[in-house]
Symmetry: C2
Subunit: 1021 residues, 2 copies
């Protein structure tokens, strides 16, 4: 049996308004090009950030226009009105978050008018995801989710003619392979963007390579190809031709009697721009974006002038055909001309990271900016996946609709992917609003958890007194959880993965002794001190201790229920608790918080299979053992000082630009203070590097990784310079300048220090120029390649719990930037230095790294697990981590006895019987199956796999199955793609595969199905 | 026979699109008020200046938005789109200059959509004149013309439902009686405005007198009544409730899920504003203007928020009925409630001048600002009336259409009436554009003058070689006229009045001796030196001399033709030319320009009937004789220094605020330099007051006035203070604090120094607080009243050639401000000091005053003509002055003999046979008849008059006659007016009079007819 990881999602799909047969929303509705002329495709568009300088609502409603005069409701509204006026006018609508909000506000008449415009190709939906997501920090799960959600809304409102063909990533600060692959898999024809490395851009201009065929995945090959167009001159209108209310450019005055008549002048200047631009492209088509940030609030103004421009060209420059167009119409024209003239487009297989807009402007700071926000987003995703599953299970047989409470979370998660949200490049007040939105969405999502848990677990219909209000302990990272501090509480640990996993539950507590009862009886636990005293956090009283126990063998898509009672007895004896405290007393931890443990001297932690040692003198990590293999490995914190911008660019929210190339060690002294704890469940070393950096290095028994649980902040500002903190892992491995970073958490991409595949790298910024986005993983290979007989043939990986920037600046070394506090704005529009303040101090960040290693798959040391097997396993378990809900069990009715009488303490969505089903309706389930391994990553696990989904759902029959696009918005069979001539190795076209219940999956493939199911207990004709 | 002055105008009326019967564009389309609640009438509007900080075209197209973000095409366009969206929305369209330009740019679909909106009362046309005219400096001829023109365009485009009911003078800086009277006579129901004296405003707020019945004319009585509403709180939206793209006010956020939901807050704050406002009005209706300067470029934005406000009130404050409304719907509601509750409104019979917005802010500077522009406008009007008449005559029998070339002039004259055009309160570049527009329009209007003159005068069809290109000598005021400097030229003097007049033609020449042949043979002339050397004017070579001759007995609506040839002989001997030069030699006049005249000592000029004396020592005027009566009268120039704004307000384009209350004499020394000239035609004294002020005092033989021809500038700046020059006429008459000023050139209004009729005047600004607009005339009466036995029972009047500010600051004294040069902006938006520069110097201004006097009509000295008879006569002859066209006759074919052979040298539109008429069509003529005297102004002339118009046109029959509104836009019989309860003396309602050919006219009445005529030579059944 192949090992298959899969995501399970359930939607009840609303029916989309059917499209009238008479409409032609395809390419037939394009305004005509003239092959004998230069065709100038004016593409009117508005780039509407889902939050940046203002919050989402402020942008939508046009509030706080003194910050930025922008109100998206007016953009869409006035565009729809302006498009009525002339049938040749075109516009593209991009962000579905805004579109959907607008749609809901409209009367039916306007909705119908909008549908007509879409049906006639006058309003073209492009991109259509909830937001225009970032491509560096966003995880592919969330990207697919936000496309699925955005496209569902488009389907619901606009139907078939709303289906986009074009990815429109005009603003994100670099572009990932995985994004290209996703676009291709959703069924898009092409993607356009504006930002790429300035050297790359220059070279592409010169070589007419601004348009290319991008292969997004070597695993999927040609199935991941997508036409990629780089806009000629950014995504704004040509200088002096922005006719928006936000611009001051001269309007066209076409009254010949007017003293100010200027059609001739304007046309000739525009023609100059066009004839210059056309030289950079291979066909006679030129796409010119007419718009910019939040343009078209008064759309008629822009269109009026473009109408006149087009008329002016007919009069003064009939040799140039200027037309209203859309990216898809442009693409069609390029494709046709390309086929006729047999034009070959460049093939590209790497990505567009990092993005440098100039010599000293590497956009590698935002990989890390606002680390708390980046982490909260990951938690939101984790909860969302958990809730989608649990609500589906709970619903069955109860005719209840819990899904509505998930809508805010789906929406906010879409918003969070925005390229000024998860990137941390928004203003401070906007960042706070994102947190507020996400917090509220989480609260709403959790509103029904009591009923959901009850429905899933109840043994009888008469179990209402076993209902308990559950919630997540979102502040457990600062040792606060109200419910886990009660005398009696319950814990539900839900596993969203489709396989059995163990999960180490950690809860802030104040008690010393507990009784924990799970489905399998009493459970062992430990109590350990927290990493620090979090009492600076307003309005909470943090706990000083953490209760740790393992929720073992959590069933796939299932949960275990634990009942926890504080013991009146003296605290339970742990088998071994060892504590050592060394080094200088820089700790700010209150003495009272430290429990007395037996003090022993020890530098080895964990066991012979998984463990680590620390250097007794320095207190730093010195080696790591995993799978019985030990390697030398040290870890330390250091920081760069951000350039203040006195010369060239400052380090800021977008830009990472260190003032010096050698970072300073965070501890200053060569030794650090540390305390050690050894228990049956986990061994920990608590390190204190300085007043504002501490870390726990931790190894759980029977785990295949070492955990680094760090706490950084408030960063001390030194010499009025910004501080950018990195964690650095140093080995003696010879990595040959090569390292690997993930692409949105899916594929791994090879990086070579001081080198770019497609253009000549110049090393003016040796640090930030080598930084890449680490969405989930950075790794080194012995010798830098898959060749064997290099060192120990090992791969060493560091996984993170949120997106960060990182690099391998020297062989054997990996660093990840974990926190930034800067005092200067980098002048890309935010207008604020990235200096996050909370509780009147610089913000504190806590996070985890997971270090693992294994053999290269290509090498034969079969006794050691492959690195990929470890790394993919850990990554999944951290991203879709078992989720811990805590409930208040203090009321009398919530005695252990009563709960045990009324509830099952365990459930599996796959293996366990669902509640009796009284539903008459067929249900429609959206099912995604994913092969999470790349070709050759693991000898076994990377093989193509087949899964019979008939076995997946024990309690219902599948009566219909249809394969869909990756975003589930259209049947896969309806996806039609143009063909392109490129330098692509001939790959046989993979046929659309049969959709019987045996689903085969190639490496890295994700397949999406809509499955109709009926309960097995009913008979169907 | 009564003496009737009348204006003759001819239009061929385009048929207006008929209105469908199903439409209800009257009050029925108003959104409903609820009598049991406070009704808040939201009136969405945009105040679109026809030039101010930007030119008309810049405003229309939205050019130079860095000056002001304003593009009117987008306002109307986006409003029409927004009104589609919801049938309850309303908007008012005001300025027809912009509306017409927009209309022409629209496709038929949009036009039809707009008509529908108008037909359904959703887009209401108010005011509808070409511009929102000023009420101080604009002349009633031009006001009526620009309403006629604007309303004609509305008729043409929108038909009946476009007919306005409301005057909307929200921005003009003070309000005239005559304007009220005009509104009433056009058939409007009410007028609204925002600006009135701050004390008046306060009192009206307190006394609930913000709404009143204004009787515009005591002559017309109740027929000139109009409901007048003062807006509660200026014409902008309430503070914090402007939802325009130009405003930064918070939008309404009505998504209850949004953190920023604010409907409740916004509603309650708006309700506070409403409940405060309603206290100032007598009914439960409150009109709230939602808009401002150039708002609604993105109309949907504003409407979206108002929609939400209205919905919010329904939810949170159902006791207040907030509705979209229009001024007419508001008025209807007020009227209905007023009738039900028997509410009585105040009666007002005076005017709203001057306007003080605050203690030190009297808007009396603009009465004079930009005097050259104010004069050019009057010339434009003069030419327009001339051309309307001549084109009509020339057309008859020739099937030619000369009218189209008058359209630009009609339009520009409408623009010139705008309250930032003729007022001189625009930016300098805009002022230049007005001049450019008017110059171009004049040139266009004159394009066909050659054909017109030929058609009118030719004796045979074979007269083409007698065609001569004619043009006006617009630069004669700087002694430049190219054609009159030729050896041979022709002069056409056209008289636009309906009676015989003499006209003194003055032309710049270089020759010494001429032969002038007119229709009656040779004509006498004189040659006199010019007032100054104008060689500083770029690109001209000014003449040093002026040829003067009288065109006698010019026929009504007729012309005389003169042929002028320079003589080779020595210059003709004048009977007497006397010259004296006295005083200090401050003259800058070149010696060579002074002719040698026989030098005699003389201080008396003119003759015993009309003449004047100057004081030999001072050189200043000392007495004036008219109609044989001599009075002591001196005249001098003085200047105020403008306050620089260091404390309170500066003197500026709007504001007159002298730094001192006593002006400085312009001459400094007590004596001035002067030169005297006496001829058979005219006697002149050329005075030099200082380096930048000179004047000719002039008396023509057989004229009933003394002419003051002054030249001021470049004003010398003294002590870095602005200078405001006045001419002051001083008599010993006891005028008792009383003086009279005209209202837009029609009625005379009594003024009492330091007093206001309807509120308590406080005298913080004793000079400017007593300034009033002198559009055409200021006068004093002996004793200050019509009582006889006061002094000599005389009235003394000074008439001007353009609008000015003026006052009588002491008894017996009248002053007129003639020029202003200021160094500070007065901070009402222009953003520039009024410091006109031309040819690198302060601008030079030349103008005339005409002094006349006579007995009060009430007194019995019958040997002396009444003052009014003189004054009305002169005013008419100066406003509708005979117009002089000059033609180049140097070509051989243009010999005197040939021209005499081919052309009549005389023509009258009334008395003379029109050319043979070959036209088959009926023609439609717009005819206005006016009684130019007020009740009791003259014993004889003020009597009601009857005119049989059957006799007016000797060559055609009137087959139909229909009386129209004053603006000719609708039959008078269709005018329906609401009745109001006010403190009005019961006047019997004058019935609509029979429209036979005997037209009776009451004093001051203007009646407008559309007359259908056919040639008399044809027989009609």
């Amino acid at each position: 049996m192949m090992r298959i990881a899969w995501l399970f999602t359930l939607f009840i799909l609303n029916s989309a308004k059917p499209i009238k047969d008479s409409e032609s929303c395809g390419y037939e509705s394009c305004n005509k090009v003239d092959p004998s002329k230069i065709n100038v495709h004016l593409v009117p568009h508005s780039h509407d950030d889902v939050g940046w300088l203002k919050t989402v609502d402020q942008y939508y409603y046009g509030a706080k226009n003194y910050i930025q005069p922008a109100g998206v409701q007016h953009i869409i509204g006035s565009v729809v009105q302006a498009l009525q006026k002339d049938s040749t006018r075109r516009f593209i609508q991009v962000e579905t978050a805004f579109f959907w909000q607008w749609w809901q506000d409209q009367p039916e008449k306007t909705k119908e008018m909008t549908r007509q415009l879409v049906n006639r190709g006058r309003l073209e939906i492009v991109n259509a995801a909830w937001s225009m997501n970032d491509e560096a920090a966003a995880h592919y799960h969330s990207i697919i989710d936000q496309f699925t959600w955005g496209l569902k809304r488009i389907n619901d409102t606009l139907g078939k003619c709303g289906r986009p063909k074009i990815g429109w990533q005009i603003d994100p600060f670099g572009h990932s392979k995985e994004m290209a692959s996703i676009f291709s898999q959703i069924g898009y024809e092409g993607v356009f963007f504006a930002r790429l490395d300035y050297r790359d851009s220059k070279k592409r201009h010169l070589n007419k390579d601004l348009e290319l065929i991008w292969q997004g995945s070597s695993d999927l090959g040609n199935f991941s190809n997508i036409f990629t167009g780089v806009l000629y001159d950014f995504y704004t209108a040509p200088a002096y031709f922005c006719w928006d209310i936000l611009c001051g450019d001269r309007p066209i005055i076409d009254n010949e009697k007017s003293f100010d008549y200027n059609v001739n002048t304007v046309v000739h200047e525009f023609a100059d721009y066009v004839t210059k631009g056309i030289e950079y492209y291979k066909t006679n088509n030129l796409l010119i974006t007419m718009g910019g940030d939040f343009t078209y609030q008064a759309a008629e103004m822009y269109f009026t002038n473009m109408d006149k421009l087009i008329a002016g060209f007919k009069k003064y420059r009939p040799d140039i055909n200027v037309l209203y167009s859309t990216p898809s119409c442009y693409l069609k024209a390029v494709n046709e001309e390309g086929r006729i003239k047999n034009i070959k487009f460049q093939l590209k297989t790497d990505d567009f990271f990092p993005y440098a807009s100039g010599i000293h402007s590497y956009w590698t700071g935002y990989f890390t900016s606002r680390p708390n926000s980046k982490r909260f987003e990951r938690q939101g995703n984790n909860l969302l996946q958990v809730m989608k599953q649990t609500t589906s299970f709970a619903k069955y047989g109860h005719n209840l609709n819990f899904e509505n409470n998930l809508i805010p979370l789906k929406e906010v998660m879409g918003i969070m992917q925005h390229h000024d949200a998860i990137t941390g490049t928004e203003k401070q007040h906007v960042a706070q609003d994102y947190v507020r939105l996400l917090t509220a969405a989480v609260n709403t999502a959790e509103e029904d958890v009591d009923s959901i848990i009850l429905n899933i677990l109840k043994k009888t219909d008469n179990a209402d007194d076993a209902k308990i209000k559950f919630s997540s302990c979102l502040m457990a990272n600062v040792s606060h959880c109200e419910k886990s501090n009660l005398d009696r509480f319950t814990v539900v640990v839900y596993n969203p993965l489709s396989r059995y996993v163990n999960h180490y539950v950690r809860l802030p507590v104040n008690g010393n002794s507990y009784t924990i009862v799970g489905p399998d009886g009493n459970v062992n636990y430990e109590i350990l001190p927290t990493i620090a005293d979090f009492s600076y956090v307003d309005s909470i009283t943090p706990s000083k201790k953490e209760l740790v126990f393992v929720a073992e063998n959590l069933p796939p898509l299932g949960l275990k229920y634990f009942y926890i009672q504080m013991s009146k007895s003296t605290r339970k004896k742990h088998k071994i608790v060892k504590q050592t405290r060394f080094g200088n007393n820089v700790s700010q931890m209150s003495k009272s918080t430290r429990k007395k443990h037996k003090i022993v001297k020890q530098t080895r932690f964990g066991n012979n299979n998984s463990g680590f040692t620390i250097d007794k003198v320095t207190g730093l990590l010195s080696s790591v053992t995993l799978n019985g293999v030990t390697i030398e490995l040290s870890q330390n914190f250091m920081f760069y000082n951000g350039a203040n911008g006195e010369t060239f660019r400052a380090s800021g929210a977008y830009i990472f630009r260190p003032a010096n190339t050698t970072p300073t060690a965070a501890s200053f002294a060569k030794t650090i203070t540390y305390t050690t704890y050894a228990t049956d469940i986990v061994d920990e070393v608590h390190q204190i590097f300085n007043n504002w950096i501490r870390q726990i290095i931790r190894v759980y028994k029977n785990e295949n990784y070492i955990e680094f649980d760090w706490l950084v902040g408030p960063i001390a500002l030194i010499n009025d310079l910004g501080v950018e903190v990195v964690t650095r892992f140093v080995t003696k491995r010879l990595s040959n300048g090569v390292f690997y970073t993930d692409s949105n958490g899916k594929q791994m991409v090879k990086r070579i220090r001081n080198f770019r595949e497609m253009y000549t790298y110049t090393n003016e910024e040796p640090i930030s120029g080598n930084y890449y986005p680490i969405t989930s993983c950075i790794l080194l290979k012995d010798g830098g390649s898959d060749n064997c007989s290099q060192g120990d043939n090992l791969e060493i990986a560091v996984l993170n719990d949120r997106a960060q920037g990182g690099s391998s600046l020297e062989d054997g070394q990996m660093e990840l930037m974990i926190h930034r506090r800067l005092l200067n704005d980098d002048n890309f529009g935010v207008g604020e230095p990235l200096n996050e303040i909370e509780f009147n101090e610089g913000v504190v960040v806590r996070g985890q790294h997971y270090l693992t290693f294994g053999r290269k798959n290509t090498c034969s040391k079969s006794s050691v697990k492959s690195a990929a097997a470890n790394q993919r396993d850990i990554a999944q378990r951290k991203l879709l981590s078992p989720w811990v809900f805590v409930g208040d069990a203090t009321s009398n009715q919530h005695s252990l006895q009563n709960l045990q009488a009324k509830l099952n303490f365990q459930f599996s969505g796959l293996a366990t019987a669902l509640p009796n089903n009284n539903t008459n309706d067929k249900a429609t389930i959206l099912l995604r199956l994913e092969h999470i391994f790349s070709k050759d990553e693991d000898n076994v696990l990377s093989q193509p796999a087949t899964l019979n989904i008939g076995n997946l759902f024990p309690l219902f029959n599948i009566i219909n199955i249809e394969e869909m696009s990756l975003a589930a918005h259209m049947p896969k069979i309806e996806i039609e793609k143009m063909t392109w001539n490129s330098f692509i190795p001939a790959t046989p076209s993979r046929e659309v595969r049969s959709t019987d219940l045996n689903i085969d999956l190639e490496p890295m493939e994700i397949r999406t199905f809509i499955v109709e199911v009926v309960p097995k207990t009913r008979n169907f004709v």
